[in-house]
């Protein structure tokens, strides 16, 4: 049985990159949601949660409209990078991002909100800048839960199928991620390949979730 390991490496790479991007965006948005009130906050929060409940095909459709070769954004992307976004591995990153970022943002916001308000307040009244309050007080007090959310987001971004197939397609050796490859193998009657890939991806997900659980239970000793 000759197994092509490319889909696995591609999936890991796509998941790592999308997790990194969603972590950066997630930290900022979580800080924004947890510490500020502004007009349209509820609507923005709802928009961010939306991908968790919409069918993948709907999301894929939106992305095709938004980022396809005919769209303004698609044209800008093509102008900057010299190639279209759709049907490339970068499109798979966008798909994974949409699949996992909402989860990370939700959990990170909850983590930030779980930090008692008196700590950032005390830091501010001691003259600490917002930057210092974030890095030295709020983040250290929420980091274990944020890392847990990151592990969870990584596991989830490995598993996207619907958005990936609509936006990045199924091009072996180029855009075929592991979940697409499994579908392909089952369709093509290569049960042995499907079995191996299924086991590997399950193992990776299990490890990520175990890690997430352990991190989630870690918390800094909280004083009175």
């Amino acid at each position: 049985m000759g197994i092509d390991w490319f889909p696995l490496w591609l999936s890991l790479r796509v998941a790592a990159l999308s997790t990194l991007i969603s972590l950066l965006a997630g930290l900022w948005l979580a800080w924004l949601f947890a510490s500020r009130t502004f007009r349209g906050k509820n609507v923005l929060e709802a928009c961010i949660t939306l991908p968790l409940v919409l069918p993948p095909t709907v999301l894929g459709y939106y992305l095709l409209i938004l980022l396809g070769r005919q769209s303004q954004l698609g044209k800008v992307y093509e102008w900057i990078f010299g190639q279209p976004l759709v049907f490339t591995w970068q499109a798979a990153v966008v798909a994974a991002l949409l699949h996992s970022a909402p989860l990370l943002i939700k959990f990170s916001t909850a983590a930030m909100e779980s930090v008692p308000r008196r700590y950032p307040k005390a830091a501010r009244s001691l003259g600490a800048s917002e930057w210092k309050v974030f890095w030295r007080v709020s983040l250290p007090l929420a980091w274990s839960q944020i890392l847990a959310a990151t592990a969870l987001a990584f596991a989830r971004s490995l598993g996207d199928f619907g958005i990936t197939i609509m936006l990045a397609g199924n091009i072996p050796g180029r855009t075929q991620t592991v979940s697409v490859a499994i579908y392909d193998a089952v369709e093509g009657g290569r049960g042995d390949v499907a079995r191996v890939l299924v086991l590997v991806i399950s193992a990776i997900a299990l490890v990520s979730l175990t890690l997430a659980n352990r991190l989630g239970r870690l918390s800094v000793g909280k004083a009175g």
Binding site: R118, Y119, K121, S125, L126, G127, R136, L141, A223, G224
Partner: protein, 358 residues
């Protein structure tokens, strides 16, 4: 010097009625106390001064610095105000040692100077031996002293203490009061302290503001307020006050005395001798108050009103005796030993201790 006019309205929501905070503090006292029941707006006042919440209207001036002025749309950030805020439950950062907490506050100093300042502050607050511990490993008293020390390191313009003694037992409270007394002397900044503990207000405050439902209902020296509550509301807030209706039966301006017919709770009536009330006539109806610890209780006496004892509670230093009509006397030590005539005691209301309430 604190001069703060703060006005803020919270619209009614499904779980709470509309609340308006409308207070004016103007005091040169070194330690001023905000006293009142929970929900009176004490903490909200403190948070408005610290800059954690923005009033709808008003002006906050601390010494020479304008923190907030609604008219000119000026509002300094909490960082710029540097109101050293000490929270009810210690807000020492749990992920840092005590020493790191103090260094955090001294962040703007050069490194060497910071180390020296942190060391000196730990010593001043008798914390030099526990600097390496995390807040969770400190006692309640150490945490609270640490919080105050940390605030002082950020060179605050004012020290804002939100019920700092809650959760501390009696000896630790005394220790905290001693610390605050030292701070008052050593640091030239105004201190504003929130409490709902009258003893604490009496012990620490040079000036006291009594808050109720978002308003200042009386202010002045704590002793004066306790002696002369302006209204029945204040008397009730101070506790330990007997409040009842009285009608003037006879009066003698020359002898500065009067005879009063009084009615307390559940219609219990008694007569007593009072002072002359200028401006009131025979038959005038008055609302009177008297401190529970001003009442004198004896088994036999020619003066006073006969009352039946309902309940007796022992405190550490005093006995709390509750009579008919809810009249309460606080008497020192074992003041109620020895029998009473038919279970009735003579309760004397010293005329000079009777207060006319609005």
């Amino acid at each position: 010097m604190i001069d703060a006019r703060i006005r803020r309205t919270f619209p009614s929501r499904h779980d709470s009625a509309e609340f308006t905070l409308d207070v004016h503090l103007r005091t040169a006292a070194r330690i001023a106390v905000l006293f009142g029941p929970s929900g009176a707006g004490k903490s909200l006042t403190l948070e408005s001064i610290a800059g954690f919440t923005t009033p709808d209207d008003g002006r906050i001036l601390v010494d020479d610095v304008l923190f907030f002025d609604a008219a000119s749309k000026l509002s300094l950030s909490p960082q710029q105000r540097r109101g050293g805020y000490v929270f009810q439950s210690s807000a020492l950062f749990p992920h840092m040692t005590l020493r790191d907490n103090l260094s955090f506050a001294a962040g703007s100093m050069p490194r060497l100077e910071r180390r020296r300042a942190v060391g000196a502050m730990l010593e001043q607050f008798h914390l030099q031996d526990v600097g390496g511990r995390s807040p969770a490993e400190l006692s309640g008293g150490q945490r609270q002293r640490g919080s105050i020390a940390r605030s002082l390191l950020s060179s605050p313009r004012i020290l804002l203490l939100d019920e700092p003694s809650s959760g501390l037992d009696a000896p630790l409270r005394e220790e905290l009061y001693a610390v605050l007394d030292e701070v008052r002397v050593a640091f030239q900044i105004p201190i504003l302290l929130v409490t709902h503990d009258l003893d604490e207000a009496m012990q620490l405050g040079e000036e006291m503001y009594v808050l109720h439902s978002g308003r200042v209902v009386q202010h002045g020296a704590p002793g004066d307020i306790l002696d002369h509550p302006a209204t029945e509301e204040v008397a009730a807030l101070l506790g330990r006050f007997n409040v009842f209706d009285a009608e003037i039966l006879t009066m003698d301006p020359a002898g500065n005395c009067s005879r009063l017919h009084c009615t307390a709770a559940s219609g219990f009536a008694f007569e007593l001798d009072g002072p002359y009330f200028p401006g009131h006539m025979l038959g005038s109806k008055l609302r009177l108050g008297i401190r529970a610890d001003a009442l004198r209780v004896t088994a036999y006496s020619a003066h006073g009103a006969a009352m039946r004892l309902k309940k007796l509670g022992r405190r550490t230093q005093t006995v709390r005796a509750e009579f008919e009509g809810g009249i309460v006397a606080e008497i020192p030590g074992s003041g109620l030993e020895g029998g009473a005539h038919n279970g009735e005691w003579m309760v004397r209301f010293p005329p000079e201790a009777l207060r006319l309430l609005k």
